[in-house]
């Protein structure tokens, strides 16, 4: 009997699938797909809440383990952005998402890096990195995500094309000269392939910058125009 035979489209199968979702037994893509179906259907949401409430009765079995004392300061810094400009910018991103671009011209880019290798070894970690970039003089906002495939997915949250000019994305690592990651469109999603030499040195402290360049990008291979956004990459 194949695994799907006994969960085929009946009512019981539906119950089992939602329960599997709540238990976390589904694969990533299936988990996301079922999650979307649940969100869109009040009956399935009720089914999910049913299982969440029932299984929560087992929560007592989780033993209490005090986390190391030093963690709280790091959590506050991340949550409140105290003493860390980049974190407060990230918080700002959440606010800006909900309001129209104002007089303050700000550009934001966030980048999530998943350093998971295709065939993970024991102990492989998934690391998420974020960079919030800001520079006065621009209303461009971006979110960029890296999913381990070797390319950055950029989503422009706001911003307008400048006639006869292009925005160019740069990676700055240590004291090295900025390395172009190519011209990026404003106002739409795009994918930027990361060159191996950039990927090799990528991590916390790397800087992502966006400059305004002549159409087609910098002719010299080095930034020539004003920086519209810049910020350091950090773990989240």
């Amino acid at each position: 009997m194949s695994a799907s035979d006994d969960i085929g489209g009946d009512h019981e199968g539906r119950n089992a699938l939602v329960a599997e979702y709540v238990l976390g037994l589904l694969s990533t893509s299936e988990h996301e797909r079922v999650g979307r179906l649940i969100e869109a259907d009040a009956g399935l949401r009720a089914e999910r809440d049913f299982w969440v409430a029932r299984f929560a009765a087992l929560d007592d079995e989780y033993a209490e383990v005090p986390p190391p004392a030093h963690l709280y300061a790091a959590i506050e810094a991340r949550a409140f952005g105290e003493g860390q400009k980049r974190v407060s910018l990230w918080e700002n991103l959440l606010i800006w998402r909900g309001i129209a671009a104002g007089a303050l011209a700000v550009a934001i880019a966030a980048i999530g890096f998943n350093l998971l290798q295709p065939a993970p070894d024991v102990g492989t970690l998934t690391t998420q990195l974020v960079a919030a970039l800001e520079e006065e003089g621009s209303d461009v906002k971006f979110v960029a995500l890296y999913d381990g495939s070797g390319s950055v997915r950029l989503t422009a949250l706001s911003g307008e094309d400048v006639p006869d000019r292009d925005f160019e994305l740069w990676a700055i690592q240590g004291d090295n000269a900025p390395v172009s990651m190519g011209v990026i469109p404003v106002g739409e999603r795009s994918t930027v392939t990361i060159a191996p030499e950039i990927l090799a040195g990528w991590g916390e402290g790397s800087v992502l910058a966006i400059t305004l360049e002549p159409e087609g990008g910098s002719p010299s291979g080095a930034p020539t125009g004003p920086i519209v956004a810049k910020g350091a990459v950090t773990r989240i």
Partner: protein, 183 residues
């Protein structure tokens, strides 16, 4: 700490976090972090990963405090769910994509809504009773999936049965469990 803190106090602290009350966030952390760290540690089974995860979990709680709806879930259950789901997301990201099975599965129209959950203490006895109606191995597999975040592959290997057998076991057990819980 967390288990002795009255549930209403925790709900109050979450509500104050939604209003950006930083002192409330600290109190919430003091009262609940041992429980939530226990969750991330048990699921991730790696101390440094669990430490990273617990930080992300509390940042999420700060950011999403306004999504907690008092009355729907007990506040500590909500917090545990945030921690557990975050740890499970990390586990899934760790796993190879190759364990993707049954992606074509469709969910038919839903039936009637289940009744509202009863009080927590009652629930606890209820789920234990219903797990007790399953074969001990299968009840243990369900608990392992919930508490330890075991995948079908891990469960199959722990119980030394083929993967498809484990999936069949688990699904039948969940259907049986549902019948028992709603009777």
């Amino acid at each position: 700490m967390s288990t002795t803190a009255p549930s209403r106090d925790i709900a109050d602290l979450i509500a104050r976090c939604a209003l950006r009350d930083r002192a409330a966030f600290r109190l919430l952390y003091e009262r609940t972090s041992a429980k939530l760290f226990g969750v991330t540690l048990r699921i991730l089974k790696d101390r440094s990963e669990a430490e990273e995860a617990i930080q992300e979990v509390y940042v999420k709680i700060w950011q999403r405090a306004d999504r907690y709806v008092a009355g729907n879930t007990s506040p500590i259950s909500w917090l545990v769910a945030v921690a557990r789901n975050h740890a499970l997301d990390k586990l899934r990201a760790r796993r190879p994509a190759a364990d993707d099975i049954d992606v074509a599965l469709e969910i038919p129209d839903s039936g009637p809504s289940p009744e509202r959950a009863a009080a927590d203490s009652e629930e606890r006895g209820r789920i234990e009773h219903c797990l007790g109606t399953l074969d001990p191995d299968r009840a243990e597999a369900v608990r392992g999936a919930y508490l330890d975040g075991y995948s079908y592959e891990e469960l199959a290997s722990r119980f030394a049965v083929p993967l498809n057998t484990m999936r069949t076991w688990l699904r039948r057990s969940l259907i049986k469990l549902k019948e028992c819980l709603t009777t």
